[in-house]
């Protein structure tokens, strides 16, 4: 069991989302940074879709009431266990009664805490993700609060093998695996590089000037940004003619432009459908970088073809698949 000693800003249970119910208006939810969530699970021997704790900007304080194999992936929020700084992107064995804390936000803004066996919360509509707005899923349909107690699920064979190997050094209160995953191996981009965007199906409806602006100008992520979407501020984007749009499906990373001309990037808690023109679609491989951007950050877009984006998507999936195999072989 783990106990939430301090809740943090927005700490919630997430997995890879609720699929199959969008036709009923039920949103997907799930981890904002899906890559960090998946890798955190793989590092503790879990299946990729087990629930993790998504931590936002100001981290929680968590006490482990049992020995746990954990991994922390995503942004760097200065995680410590019992006061000692710990590494990200690696398996860590933690003794019972240890305390995990977070401090200053150094890079990114979202962290995923995976524990071997996952967290035991009820499955609602095929998922354990928290759908905050509807109060469904996760831990009682809400963010974690001080005093919440979460039980840890039964660990699988791979998790047990990783734990056995690490426990040979279990004289201290924590054992960190010496190796770590280099998250940069998954990214095809460098820090500060523009976010790659596929032209949306309504791109051509925007004025020539707005089409140009979109790929040239900087945008700032506004304070009215959350898990549902990032509202951007910058030069306004306008349609060349006023059009009445018809609501249709949207996706993770869809960029739509409401009448005020300020684009919105739709994220994990997006509605299932939207009625604004779609100027673009963020390439999947860049969604993790976007999910780690915070209000006030400036971003820029650059065009990528759909074909190239889907090719990169497959390349990324192969790398994750290789990581999964690598971990399996390392501990077999």
């Amino acid at each position: 069991m783990i106990i939430v000693k301090k809740a943090g800003l927005l700490t919630s249970i997430q997995d890879l989302g609720r699929r199959g119910f969008q036709k009923y208006g039920v949103i997907v939810s799930g981890a904002m940074d899906r890559l960090a969530h998946r890798v955190a699970n793989l590092l503790v021997g879990n299946e990729e879709d087990l629930p993790t704790i998504e931590i936002t900007l100001l981290g929680p304080t968590i006490e482990f009431k049992q020995d746990c194999l954990i991994a922390i992936c995503g942004g760097d929020l200065s995680a410590t266990i019992n006061g000692k700084p710990i590494g990200l992107w690696r398996p860590i064995l933690v003794k019972a009664n240890s305390e995990l804390k977070f401090g200053a936000c150094k890079t990114g803004c979202r962290v995923y805490l995976a524990v071997a066996g996952g967290f035991t919360v009820p499955t609602v509509m095929n998922s354990k993700s928290t759908y905050l707005r509807a109060g469904i899923g996760g831990y009682e349909g809400r963010p974690l609060r001080t005093g919440d107690q979460l039980s840890v699920g039964k660990t699988g064979e791979l998790s047990n093998r990783i734990m056995n190997q690490l426990s040979r050094f279990f004289t201290e209160d924590i054992v960190e695996e010496k190796w770590q995953v280099n998250p940069m191996r998954f990214f095809e981009m460098k820090r500060g590089q523009a976010i790659r965007v596929i032209k949306g199906r309504h791109f051509h409806l925007f004025s020539k000037e707005s089409q140009h602006t979109f790929f040239q100008n900087d945008y700032t992520i506004s304070n009215q940004s959350d898990r549902m979407g990032y509202r951007l501020k910058g030069k306004e984007l306008i349609l060349s003619e006023k059009e009445e749009m018809i609501s249709e499906a949207v996706n993770f990373g869809t960029i739509q432009v409401p009448a005020d001309g300020n684009p919105i990037i739709l994220l994990a808690d997006r509605q299932t459908t939207g009625g604004y023109p779609k100027i673009g679609q963020v390439a999947s491989v860049d969604l993790s970088i976007l999910a780690q951007a915070k209000p006030g950050d400036r971003i820029r877009f650059t065009e990528i073809s759909f074909e190239k984006a889907q090719f990169l998507y497959l390349k990324r999936e192969r790398k994750i698949h290789e990581l999964k195999l690598g971990i399996y072989l390392k501990y077999s």
Partner: protein, 237 residues
């Protein structure tokens, strides 16, 4: 049937069946929904029907692994959709469900009934009579879990939204906004004119399916008294 295919990100394809909201396009969307429900393609994760489109989500990596094809997963999916549509006999008529929704109009459950009446120079009774006699159809579910976009309301009771939206609209409220009528499945803020409330739950997370309504349903509103409302609400819990 004419349609166009567009990618919606690397894991979805949007099928556009028309450019305006009408019954014919809706009918095509419904037939394809039926096709996908009855014969879900292996590569499909889920689909979202809307007014003029239906979007299918898929797993590109699974497609590559399963079919060992060298082409882009999107190309593969488009071919499969074209093939499915060629094979399918679209003549058969789709089955439409008729869902009856009892509504207690006016009073504290429908505080804006008088506004709707006065805007349209009708009596509240006439508004109820018009609202309950419409042939309604659910074009799509969206905006909120279980929220139906309903077509078919009479222009005679069309009413603009409230100038300042309410911060909380109670769940199961029945309202009018412009030419649309709708029902709020969950409590949300909103600017609709509230004319009544139904005791029936539109969204039940534990149920399968969780939504009372689905795209393609026909709806009939019936007027019930406050006592009937209370009795039904109590029974449903």
């Amino acid at each position: 049937m004419e349609y166009e295919l567009y990618p919606l990100g690397e894991d979805a394809v949007l099928i556009e069946l028309g450019k305006e909201i009408n019954l014919e396009t809706h009918h095509w969307v419904q037939m394809i929904t039926g096709l996908l429900e009855d014969n879900p393609p292996e590569w499909m994760i889920e689909y979202i029907p809307a007014f003029t489109t239906i979007t299918i989500f898929y797993d590109p990596f699974k497609i590559i692994k399963a079919f060992k094809s060298n082409q882009l997963p999107y190309t593969y999916v488009c071919q499969q959709i074209n093939f499915l549509f060629e094979q399918f006999n679209f003549d058969k008529s789709t089955q439409q469900r008729l869902v009856e929704i009892p509504v207690c109009y006016g009073g504290e459950l429908g505080p804006d009934l008088d506004i709707v009446a006065s805007v349209n120079q009708l009596t509240p009774e006439e508004v109820i009579q018009i609202h309950t006699s419409g042939d309604y159809i659910v074009y799509m579910i969206g905006f909120a879990p279980g929220f139906p976009y309903i077509g078919g309301m009479s222009e005679k009771i069309a009413t603009p939204r409230k100038e300042s939206p309410r911060l909380k609209i109670p769940e199961r409220s029945v309202g009018i906004a412009g030419m649309q009528t709708g029902i709020y499945p969950i409590e949300t803020p909103g600017g609709w004119q509230l004319i009544g409330r139904t005791p029936i739950r539109l969204f039940t997370p534990e149920a399968n399916p969780p939504s009372l309504l689905r795209a393609g349903d026909k709806i009939k509103f019936t007027a019930i008294s406050f006592e009937e409302y209370q009795a039904l609400e109590k029974r449903i819990g």
